[in-house]
Amino acid sequence: MTDDLMGRRELLRLTLGAGFMRVATPFLPQTGSSIVARVIHSSQESIPVIGLGSWITFNVGDDRAARAACAQVIRAFVDGGGRMIDSSPMYGSSQAVIGDAIASLPDPRRVFSADKVWTSRADGRSQIEETRRLWRVAKLDLVQVHNLLGWEDHLPVLLEMKRAGRIRYVGITTSEGRRHADIERLLRQHQLDFVQLTYNAADREVESRLLPLAADRGTAVIVNRPFRQGALVNAAARQPLPSFAREIDCTTWAQLLLKFIVSHPAVTCVIPATSSVAHVRENLASGRGPMPDERLRQRIAAVVQSL
């Protein structure tokens, strides 16, 4: 395990160092037009780097037309090679909408179900079971403590559920830079499969400590708010796409922003949310082709900072 961790730290240092013109995926090679995949360290299972979030976009209640539209987005996501879909009990009807959509897929097992426990009650088991029921799956893949709410109670329960085989992975989440000190402490104290946090070309705080620590600890990283809920894309849309975007096969700002994120070797999966089939395909495309090296990453960050 020590050798493996040292190998990950060294690989992170090398791939972020100067001199690499292209960043080959640290863990799995690309083949053809398939989406880049990263390995979940604790199991060596591979997962495509582009996932799908569900905050706001899939909370459409019992509006049949809107639910059908959401199902089309999920279908396009899975057909395009995506696997991880992330949700939470906090997101209203999103879980039920996802469950209905997945049930209509030819192979629902292709979906990697990532959800959360979000309750101040000490025992979140009943909520997790309700989540599983809404997803209409036999077992949830990943359950995370949402924004660390009640982690003291929920984390032991999740670890026990994992040992019992009732869930596959355990994680914790935060967003928008909140509670990073607590996240760091928990990553050091517990062997967690996943950590979810905010990271993008404008919000880079996690580069200094949390991303290296996650890599060090063998914890997979899920990135939320890649576009700051659309604000980054809206701000960028007022500017022409930089010419260097062509070097990494990016034709839109959204792709450039996503490639910045997934090119960090500590990142396992990014989960942009969308209610548009066109946008989900655009997002998946950013998981293919060449990735920016460190030089290009700095140029992307500089352009975004200037927006």
Partner: protein
């Protein structure tokens, strides 16, 4: 505590503007044509208040009670809760206000005077014109705010009643004031200019409640 302060208003909204307005359209479609009854009762209220002010308090309170109980069940519980888990709590609060108004109607005593009548009519007018405000803000015809049918104009209309009430004015006004703040904040987070309607309604209502002028003496029917 710092974490809670870092949350923006938009972080507390769980749905998109499109989903919110479509929810109104679904609601209206489900209850049509009951809107006609609510509109008729809304038109009747100011007429009753002008013609028979000493009996108006009881009738208006009873009608408002029915409106609040309706919105609690048909809007918050049956519709809004499908996209907002807080709507179940809203339903309880609206039901409580409905029961308070019903109690007020049942224990009504003939008033000697009714203060702030002009202000009340103004506020009621704002509530009645809510559909126009919705249209100007860009909503479709099927998505309008309607007095007695949807929460915001119902709250503003109740403020209009509370400022003229001769008993328990503040008690009758608390929940409508709070709801105007919540409704306005929701629309604000959704970037709608309509947010000003409930917010200004709350400010006007609060101002009228706190006014220290002698109430107009009742003359009709004496």
């Amino acid at each position: 505590m710092d974490d809670w302060l870092s949350y923006r208003l938009s972080d507390l909204i769980l749905f998109s503007p499109q989903t919110y307005y479509r929810m109104f359209a679904q609601y209206h479609a489900r209850i049509f044509p009951l809107q006609v009854i609510f509109l008729a009762s809304a038109i009747a209220l100011p007429i009753i208040m002008r013609r028979s002010p000493e009996r108006a308090e009881r009738v208006v309170a009873a009608v408002l009670a029915a409106w609040w109980l309706w919105v609690a069940i048909a809007f918050h519980l049956a519709r809004y809760s499908t996209i907002n888990w807080a709507a179940r709590s809203f339903a309880l609060v609206f039901a409580a206000q409905g029961l308070l108004l019903a109690w007020f109607a049942l224990t009504h005593r003939r008033p000697r005077s009714m203060p702030n009548q002009l202000g009340a009519f103004g506020l009621f007018g704002v509530a009645a014109l809510a559909p126009a405000g919705s249209l100007l803000a860009g909503r479709e015809l099927t998505q309008l705010e309607l007095i007695g049918v949807t929460p915001d104009p119902t709250a503003i209309a109740t403020l209009a009643f509370a400022v003229t009430a001769t008993r328990f004015r503040l008690a009758l006004a608390i929940i409508p004031l709070v709801w105007c703040a919540i409704g306005g904040a929701t629309l604000w987070a959704l970037d709608s200019v309509e947010a000003w309607i409930p917010l200004l309604g709350a400010i006007a209502g609060l101002g009228l409640l706190l006014r220290r002028r002698r109430p107009a003496r009742l003359t009709a029917g004496r």
